[in-house]
Amino acid sequence: MIGYAAGRSPLHRAHPYTPLAAASAVLLLAFAVSTPGAVGVVVLAAVALALLGDATGAIVRPMLVLVLPTWALLLVLHGILGGDPHLVLGPVTLSEPGVRRALVLGGRVTAIVIAFLTALATVSPPRLVEAMTARGVPFGRIFLLVSSLTLVPRMRARAVQILDAQQSRGLRIGGSAAARVRALVPLVLPLVLGALAEVEEQVLALDARGAASGARRTALDPPRDTLGERLVRMALIMAVLMAYAAKFMGRGA
């Protein structure tokens, strides 16, 4: 499942900016390094983040769905079509630089996916709204961000309801490839049209309740931001800056 999964882990209890900062740091570090070993370290950091957030159960399936096709594509593209020298692994011959390139790219994707799925699973959208409100972030930006974070679970729930409704009207889900393609229209269109109608009503309702007034909003229950967490975020920023400094000074791993 992609989205928030309630829990009591340190990441769940942390200020919402901390898991997001950690995920962002993983993303930036993944692009700051360029050897398979260094990328592997970033992947391990992302896995550690997932373990810290007690999120492995929630993210394994979507992670595999997102990452495995990427790995397969990268290994085929770079491993088979890459240049000399070639490695012979039993019946398979692969390009050595191609495999190294695939390992770096695949590792980056894996680390980023794990880190952001963990952030999505551990950052409660209402707490994030409160945290951003307390920092004076304009409501429009908060709404945009939180809508994006909650989009997948909401669309998934709606898709299940649409599937039920259309099956109840006699739509057969399955059969030949052509039948499956035909079944897409009555499934996808209500999803899109319903979401558009919902957004329109939601925007009007927000306007009617003064969301666009421009006044600084009141944070009713802002999450506590401790000195320790601020230091952690600062350390993450420093780590990223140092990694990029090393990269641009030619000493990148």
């Binding site: 039920d164 259309q166 109840s168 009207r169 006699g170 057969r172 229209v185 009555p186 209500p190 049209l193």
Partner: protein, 270 residues
């Protein structure tokens, strides 16, 4: 064709424990039943069992001679028409007419039921409109028309009148009554007791996944204590009948009018 519905010691839920616990229920062919109860009592779960959207973890559900467990929802749609609470979960065609015709087309049925269903629910004049150009209650009428056009022997309606004005509700009541009179079995989940009074002969109250009460609608709708326990009150006609001690135990508007006409009543002096 009409079909009865039977649940035998059914347990069912959504993966994290059962919502229904050993529920047994018989609804005879041509009977109209209303399911009442607080949110989370298991009404919708019970209704969804009938179309195969929820599978029993124990027990047996049958519609006529079909065991629901062995059939897909699209197969069961030949016998069970299910109207969902939210219309926007199914509308997709470019016109109201096309959307109403979707179910009959899926089932390979003749299209003559489409025009009749549109006419019956007052949708003929908007048959060429896009469903999303209609207000929400009208969209819900479109979904109802889509199910009526399928000609199923069992109708399952989940909150069919929520958000309706008087006129729309009357259209639904009339359409449902015509079906019931022709032998269709109706199972209605509703908090709208005025609608229940007009449409149902029998009321089953669900509480915490079990059947708490199973009574004649007429008796239940005049039992203020039982209704208050559910956070409800008698429908207007029943309340009026109770207050004025009208004969005949009216619960429907027409019955109330008839009782008032027959009553000897003098306006109080002003």
């Amino acid at each position: 064709m009409t079909f009865g519905v039977r649940l035998e010691r059914v347990r069912a839920g959504y993966g994290q424990g059962d919502v229904l616990h050993d529920v047994s229920l018989d609804v005879a062919a041509g009977e109209s039943l209303a399911l009442l109860g607080a949110n989370g009592a298991g009404k919708t779960t019970l209704a969804r069992l009938l179309i195969g959207l929820v599978r029993p973890s124990a027990g047996r559900v049958t519609v006529g001679d079909w065991d629901v467990s062995g059939r897909r929802p699209d197969e069961l749609a030949r016998r069970v028409g299910y109207v969902f609470q939210h219309a926007d979960h199914q509308l997709f065609a470019r016109t109201v007419r096309d959307d109403v015709a979707f179910g009959p087309r899926c089932l390979g049925l003749p299209g003559d039921g489409v025009a009749a269903a549109l006419e019956e629910l007052g949708l003929s004049r908007v048959a060429g409109a896009h469903p999303y150009d209609l207000p929400a209650p009208a969209r819900k009428l479109v979904t109802l028309a889509g199910v009526l056009a399928m000609g199923a022997g069992v109708l399952v309606l989940d909150e069919p009148t929520a958000g309706f004005d008087h006129e729309s509700r009357e259209l639904v009541v009339a359409a449902l009554r015509r079906r019931i009179e022709s032998g269709v079995t109706a199972v209605v989940v509703s908090h709208d007791l005025a609608f229940v009074a007009e449409a149902a002969e029998r009321i089953v109250v669900m509480r915490e996944g079990a059947i708490a009460t199973d009574r004649r609608a007429r008796d239940m709708l005049r039992d203020e204590d039982a209704l208050h326990a559910l956070g409800l009150g008698p429908p207007p006609a029943a309340a009026l009948g109770l207050r004025l001690a009208l004969s005949g135990s009216p619960v429907r508007i027409a019955e109330c009018v008839a009782a008032l006409r027959g009553a000897r009543w003098t306006a109080p002096a002003v």
